[in-house]
């Protein structure tokens, strides 16, 4: 073990307390790591594709999540193994970067690991495998570029975008009304997109959910939705042409930050203090009124007296609005967030065409709609659904769809889904393998084989014969030299993904391959695992 001897033959210890640590070295370490990575991939494998199954996750507090979003499953799985954590990270980075394909990337990495294990058994050095993978991934990414297609859309013709979003949504539980949700997602993204700069700020899209109603009631609101109601029950419930004062100061007497005391020792002082207090409230409300505000949105609470004064002066107000929402409101209405009453000016007010309160169901649930904003760049997707889990899952699905739409606006290239791109890459990589003279050739072939595993999993999940289907599609692609043939998951009757309208974004696919390769390389390079044993 980690025991070395100095020139006098005395042992000295490199690892402290080594008997309390477990250590795996060399090929054993790699194999153990591969096994762990594969185990994670195996969990996700059955969630891939439109017919993929869901996972039910019970959190540490007994809360239940049902999802088939790879990133969410892994995040909530609460894994303990280091390598498994790497896989979780992998899926998360795909989520951050692309937003979709989080399951696919893990399945891909798992397949690569599985192939690597086989190569290790042959005695190929892990570094050579890693290098081979690297080369292969480059070939695959280039090939993807080659087979990708530009696809045209603009603000008026967004049908292609909707089709792509539908591909994403069809693997989720919401596929019952995927058309509707896809349209909502695309409209939302187009509303906030900067088509000149080809950029989309997803922060401007707020996704709100409320339990109750049907999925079909989900709607896109060109404005902001706030889960709050008016501070006083008798304030008007609907304001047209609202001028909104957005405040971050409470309607309360000032609280100077420096420590201070006000000593009252005479009756006069008591009286003046009392007068002053009343004046404070009056001034505050008056200032809002003076600048022409017709609605006050405040981050903090109101004193009862102030509340009544507001109501009395016919100035509706909303209190305890969260910081993020406040910012969104400010962006949408073109107002400024005002931290002090003294700084209120008419220019700083936000403007909205319509603000209304709407109530739901039998319980006292009310929400505030702020619509027809001056700057219509902020939108809200309001999700309704049968239960909380459904809403959470819909939120995740919508998020994926939004990301896909965004990616398409950034980069218009697409590849065909349903495993078509993977099969095409696999063929290209396989063909390229023979050109490399070294040991890497084997690794590159292994990579090609690993690429096949994604369509294989798709076929398996759809209840088709995996090997039969895959080989049929592969030969079809090779024979006709068209990279559009994929797995017919929905049993439509054709393998042509162009007809089925199954697209994926080019960058999403490229990112999947690159990320998976990177992680696998990282895992392969580990040859020594030292961990604190718990016993």
């Amino acid at each position: 073990m980690a025991l070395a001897f100095d020139e006098f033959g005395r042992p000295f210890i490199i690892l402290r307390e080594q008997d309390q640590k477990t250590r795996l070295r060399g090929i054993d370490a790699q194999k153990a790591n591969i096994a762990a990575g594969k185990a994670v991939a195996r969990i996700l494998r059955s969630s891939l594709g439109p017919k993929g199954m869901d996972k039910m996750l019970q959190g540490p507090d007994g809360d239940v999540t049902i999802t088939n979003d790879g990133a969410t499953i892994l995040e909530q799985m609460d894994v303990d193994n280091q390598i498994a954590k790497l896989m979780v990270e992998l899926s998360r980075s795909q989520d951050y970067e692309i937003g979709d394909g989080t399951t696919g990337v893990v399945v891909m990495a798992g397949a690569l690991l599985e192939q690597a294990e086989r190569q290790l058994d042959r005695g190929i050095h892990p570094i050579r495998i890693a290098e081979g993978y690297e080369m292969a991934s480059r070939v695959a990414v280039e090939h993807l570029e080659r087979i990708s297609q530009k696809f045209e859309f603009d603000v008026n013709n967004y049908e292609p975008l909707v089709q792509t979003c539908m591909t994403t949504l069809s693997s989720k539980i919401v596929n019952r009304c995927k058309r509707r949700l896809a349209e909502i997602a695309v409209k939302a993204v187009l509303a906030v997109a900067d088509l000149e700069r080809r950029d989309v700020n997803l922060d401007l899209i707020k996704v709100e959910g409320k339990v109750g109603g049907n999925l079909e009631d989900t709607e896109l609101i060109y404005g902001i939705l706030v889960d709050k109601d008016m501070s006083h029950p008798q304030m008007p419930k609907q304001i047209e042409d609202a001028h909104i004062a957005i405040l971050t100061c409470p309607f309360e007497p000032p609280k100077p930050k420096t420590k201070h005391k006000v000593d009252i020792d005479t009756v006069q002082k008591f009286e003046t203090l009392r007068k002053q207090e009343q004046q404070y409230f009056d001034e505050m409300v008056q200032k809002c009124k003076d600048v022409g505000a017709t609605l006050v949105i405040c981050q903090w609470g109101f004193d009862d007296e102030a509340n009544h004064l507001l109501m009395h002066r016919n100035l509706p107000a909303v209190r305890w609005v969260g910081g993020v929402e406040l910012e969104l409101i400010a962006i949408a209405t073109g107002g400024r967030i005002v931290p002090r009453f003294q700084e209120l000016t008419p220019e700083k007010l936000g403007k909205a065409g319509m603000v209304r309160e709407k109530s739901f169901g039998t319980t006292k649930e009310r929400m505030l709609y702020i619509e027809h904003c001056a700057n219509s760049k902020a939108v809200t997707i309001f999700i309704r659904g049968g239960n909380k889990m459904m809403i959470e899952e819909t939120k995740r699905s919508i998020h994926d769809a939004l990301c896909v739409a965004r990616n398409l606006i950034r980069n218009k290239s697409i590849v065909y889904g349903g495993g078509a791109a993977e099969i095409a890459c696999s063929l290209a990589v396989d063909a390229a393998a023979d050109k490399y003279p070294g040991v890497e050739q084997y690794a590159i072939r292994a990579f090609a084989e690993a690429l096949d595993s994604v369509p294989m999993a798709l076929a398996e999940n759809s209840g088709l014969q995996p090997i039969e289907t895959l080989s049929a599609v592969k030969s079809q692609q090779l024979k006709e030299n068209i990279p559009f043939y994929g797995i017919d998951c929905n049993d439509v009757g054709t393998n042509d993904m162009r007809e089925q309208n199954v697209f994926e974004t080019l960058i999403g696919k490229q990112q999947q391959i690159l990320l998976a390769t990177q992680v696998v390389k990282m895992i392969l390079k580990i040859d020594d695992v030292i961990s604190n044993s718990e016993y």
Partner: protein, 527 residues
């Protein structure tokens, strides 16, 4: 090669068939639990809380039962959740939705064991649910135009809802009350405006609807017990010493006289406030917060009725009823809107004195006083009435109604069956299963009533073979009868919600092929 554990120590993972079985069993267990409460002859459950006092609830409201259960099975939690949502959204049908979801899963289990893929079952269920909904839509009755007929529809719905509850003995009485109360709301679904006051004593029959408003408070001592043509100021203000709100203020004195002076000033301030309030020309003052003895005395002197500590909803409702605004400052009396009512008096219900506001300006709010033998009865009565009110208020907005007594299920089952015959492929098995699950509801209703369900349901099915049949199970006479004649109606919105949420929940559970349970969060050891 050791495959290291991926999960933390206490976490568990169940896969494939086992996961599916676990969720099926959990969900069906929950459904079976509430199954016996379904229908007019459904039984009640006693729930004993583990909290202090081991308080007991007797109920047959599905949502209430499920809410009180501690459930560990994640699939069962899904069912509890849908029942809760059903309660929030439409108020009734909380048991039906769970039973239907349970039946759907039971049928699905059979299909899964005969090697049909869950995804195929889901596809079939979806088609079936769509078809069932269309079948209902075809048969709805809408009497929105005809006010008289609409009212009688509402009455029938209310009676149908109530007949499965503890109130079934006096269902006409209560249905009348509920319909009146809801119609006063004029289309708003804000049930807050209907106040339910529970007073033990008397019998359920003595319950009544009061057009005015009843506040469960006492009138201050020495104040008038009866005011005619009352002008009411509804307020939310501190009526204690009214402390200085400026941060960091404190009183520091160096002699007793100064203390006395400041006390005097404080009193003066209070008096000022009272005077300002009196300047509104009122003879009744209702405050949400406490009124201390001193101001109360001042009010009594002025002959003003002062009511303290009315709870928040009470005050909001009072504002709604009397048309006054809820005031917190009193500097400009001329612009504050006062509330009005014809008569305020103290009334006795049982042994308690209550304040009764009658002849109010705005007729939206009203109070229902429930009387009954014990707290348990009253609690259950309140829940039942709440269900009825919810359903009615939803029906006012969506006036489509259906017949009851298992009629809608049979109509749906028939259509779904037809669809199954037309559909090719494995899906048709699932569609057929859906129809069987629908029939399970009338079967359960009959079973719970102690009737021969097999016989009755077969009869019903035969009756439904003819077009435009109105047959359903009449539990009272124990036979198949015309539901329209017996006046058993249900709201379309409730049925639709039951159908859709149950399908959604079943689908959700069916899609699961793996359950991962995280290690429970460790509590910090408190020594």
């Amino acid at each position: 090669m050791p495959i290291d554990k991926i999960f933390k120590d206490d976490a568990s993972e169940e896969k494939g068939e086992r996961a599916r079985m676990a969720s099926f069993i959990g969900a069906m267990a929950v459904a079976d639990l509430v199954k016996s409460t379904l229908g007019p002859k459904g039984m009640d459950k006693i729930l004993q809380s583990t909290g202090r006092g081991h308080s007991v609830t007797v109920t047959n409201d599905g949502a209430t039962i499920l809410k009180s259960l501690h459930i560990d099975n994640p699939a069962a939690k899904v069912l509890v959740d849908i029942s809760k949502v059903q309660d929030d959204e439409v108020g009734d049908g909380t048991t039906s939705v769970v039973v239907l979801a349970g039946e759907l899963l039971r049928e699905a289990e059979k299909l899964v064991t005969s090697k049909i893929h869950p995804m195929t079952i889901i596809a079939g269920y979806r088609m079936a649910a769509e078809c069932a909904r269309d079948a209902l839509l075809k048969r709805v009755i809408d009497n929105k135009e005809n006010a008289e007929k609409f009212r009688s529809d509402l009455m029938k719905i209310a009676m149908t809802t109530l007949c499965s509850k503890i109130l079934s003995q006096d269902k006409e009485h209560f249905a009348e009350m509920a319909v009146d109360a809801v119609l006063r709301l004029k289309g708003s679904t804000n049930l807050e405006a209907i106040q339910i006051i529970k007073k033990p004593g008397g019998s359920l029959r003595d319950s009544f609807l009061d057009e005015g408003f009843i506040l469960d408070k006492k009138i201050g001592i020495g104040q008038p017990k009866r005011i005619e043509n009352a002008k009411i100021l509804v307020a939310n203000t501190a009526m204690d010493t009214d402390k200085v709100k400026i941060y960091g203020a404190r009183v520091r004195v160096d002699s007793m006289t100064k203390v006395a002076e400041i006390e005097g000033a404080e009193k003066e301030k209070m008096k000022d406030k009272v005077n300002k309030i009196l300047a509104h020309g009122i003879n009744c003052f209702v405050n949400r917060q406490l009124i201390y003895n001193f101001p109360e005395e001042l009010f009594a002197d002025a002959g003003v009725l002062a009511i303290e500590h009315a709870d928040f909803e009470g005050i909001e409702r009072l504002g709604l009823v009397t048309g006054g605004e809820i005031a917190s400052t009193f500097d400009n009396p001329e612009s504050v809107k006062l509330g009005h009512c014809k008569l305020i008096e103290e009334i006795m219900i049982g042994e308690d004195k209550l304040i009764h506001f009658s002849g109010v300006e705005m007729g939206q709010a009203c109070s229902i006083v429930l009387r009954g033998a014990s707290h348990h009865v009253l609690d259950e009565a309140e829940r039942s009435l709440h269900d009825a009110l919810c359903v009615l208020s939803q029906t006012v907005n969506d006036s489509r109604v259906l017949l009851g007594g298992g009629w809608p299920e049979m109509v749906m089952a028939k259509e779904v069956d037809e669809l199954a015959r037309k559909t090719a492929g494995k899906k048709s098995h699932a569609i057929e299963a859906f129809s069987r699950a629908l029939v399970a509801i009338p079967t359960t209703i009959a079973d719970n009533a102690g009737l021969d369900s097999a016989e009755l349901v077969a009869q019903l099915r035969a009756e439904h073979h003819t077009e435009g049949c109105n047959a359903g199970i009449d539990v009272i006479s124990g036979a198949v009868g015309d539901m329209e004649e017996r006046g058993i109606y249900e709201a379309f919105k409730v049925k639709q919600a039951v159908l859709l949420s149950a399908t959604e929940a079943a689908e959700m559970i069916l899609r699961v092929d793996e359950i991962i349970t995280c290690a429970p969060r460790r509590r910090e050891d408190r020594m």
